[in-house]
């Protein structure tokens, strides 16, 4: 229960950071996606249930404040991202930084693609190559950059949580 509360607080904190502070460090109007890092990281570090939990709350916060009146869309996307990252839990070793980077990159790409399809393609914005080059790829690259800094912190938090016996 304590573990869940800490995770919830972390999502909460990251969401606020994402809405406020990250706009000040955005480059060319593109900000990195901290919530994807969080969801994805808890997915592969702790498994599917944990990933879904973090994803669910990340998405829910997006939906309530910025969902444009529809609650559930981002919740669903983030929950699935958490779930699928959780499938790689067996391949995860804390010292290996390659798997996290590959998974987070892939998650962010998939997330962007889904958002593009659901919110842009369906409004007949067909120029996918433009959005790929100007939004999706820059966001992913910036996200990877933040991952390299942020992942160590997450790992430290995770190991200290385990040390105190919070499964």
């Amino acid at each position: 229960m304590i573990r869940k509360s800490i995770e919830f607080l972390l999502v909460f904190f990251c969401f606020i950071l994402q809405c406020t502070f990250f706009h000040f460090i955005s480059l060319g109007g593109i900000a990195p996606n901290l919530l994807i890092i969080l969801t994805s990281a808890f997915g592969f570090m702790k498994g599917r249930t944990e990933g879904m939990f973090v994803g669910f709350f990340s998405g829910l916060m997006m939906d309530v404040l910025f969902g444009n009146g529809i609650i559930g869309l981002y919740t669903l996307i983030y929950t699935y991202i958490g779930f699928f990252n959780g499938m790689f839990n067996r391949l995860f070793f804390p010292d290996d930084v390659r798997l996290p980077i590959i998974l987070i990159t892939f998650s962010d790409l998939v997330y962007c693609f889904i958002v593009y399809v659901l919110t842009f393609l369906l409004r007949s914005r067909f120029d996918f190559s433009y959005y790929l080059l100007h939004v999706i790829i820059p966001e992913t690259v910036y996200t990877i950059f933040i991952t390299i800094l942020f992942y160590r912190l997450l790992l430290k938090l995770e190991t200290s949580l385990e040390k105190f016996g919070m499964e």
Binding site: F21, F24, V64, G72, F120
Partner: protein, 288 residues
């Protein structure tokens, strides 16, 4: 010291069932929130007491971060003063642009004597921007006033220099505003001096240049030129008439040879919005 791991047997639902439950729940919520407001009201109430107070605090931290090169001691004082003055400037420029519009309207009214004055003083309330959409796709931002200050969905948001956007969601102490540069925004507008109606739609491709696209300009007499002012139109069902949007920066003929489209430079600097004014008046005749 080695710790012994205690393994308790606990019943746990397999994660794929949880996923199925969440999927079902989300789809139900989407349908529910799409058709009614029953669920979003309590949730936005919760957000008002949890997320929003922190956003307020964090946003000021972020602002401090960007201007930390300044002298810290004077900074706060100057910022406070600046905020007060900025509000004043907004009010005055709003008044000023209203007067300019009134002049145009006066000319028109001389022809049609007896028409009721549309541009009455709007009742506005000032609000601070406290957060922005976390993604990179849309341009939605949060302000620190909500239904408790009399705000409602579909109210227009302006600054002294023009239209900013429209309120799409409202909670007790917050509201989210979709700006007119947002890719999903469409504003029915008109060219001020020829009264030709156009559709102003935000476009993600133009955001980096700070422009907005306009379409469906039926300008048979070729009277509209670059530099003309575009304001919200009388026939819009959500936007109050006569609010400045911006000035035309380029015009092109559409492939159909009938209509024209192009770009306009908005009057508002969307990269640096700190405070906005919300017009506490809905377009007349607009009822849910």
């Amino acid at each position: 010291m080695a710790r012994v791991k205690l393994k308790r047997k606990k019943f746990e639902l397999p994660s794929r069932y949880i996923l199925a439950i969440i999927t079902f729940f989300c789809i139900a919520m989407m349908l529910l929130t799409f058709f009614t407001d029953a669920v979003s009201a309590p949730l936005s109430g919760i957000a008002a007491y949890t997320v929003v107070p922190f956003e307020r605090g964090f946003d000021s931290i972020g602002e401090k971060f960007t201007s930390r090169m300044n002298d810290f001691k004077n900074l706060k004082e100057v910022l406070d003063r600046n905020e007060a003055l900025q509000n004043r400037v907004n009010e005055l420029s709003q008044l000023n642009s209203q007067l300019t519009r009134d002049r145009y309207e006066l000319e028109e009214l001389r022809d049609f004597y007896g028409l009721a004055d549309q541009l009455s003083d709007y009742d506005t309330v000032g609000a601070r921007v406290i957060g922005k959409d976390p993604g990179n796709w849309f341009s939605v931002f949060l302000i620190d006033k909500g239904s408790r200050d009399g705000l409602a969905v579909d109210m227009n948001v302006i600054t002294g220099s023009g239209l900013v956007g429209i309120i799409t969601e409202v909670g007790p102490t917050w509201a989210s505003v979709r700006s007119i540069i947002d890719d999903s925004s469409n504003v029915s507008a008109m060219v001020l001096n020829t009264q030709d109606s156009v559709m102003v739609s935000g476009d993600l491709k133009l955001i980096s240049e700070g422009d907005i696209r306009f379409e469906h300009l039926l300008d048979e007499d070729e009277r509209v030129v670059v530099g003309d002012q575009i304001v919200t139109s009388n026939i819009s069902d959500k936007f109050l008439p006569g609010i400045n949007i911006g000035y035309i920066s380029s015009i092109d003929k559409d492939p159909n040879n009938l209509t024209k489209s192009g770009t306009l430079t908005p009057g508002v600097d969307f990269k640096h919005i700190g405070t906005v004014l919300v017009i506490k008046e809905l377009k007349a005749g607009k009822k849910d």
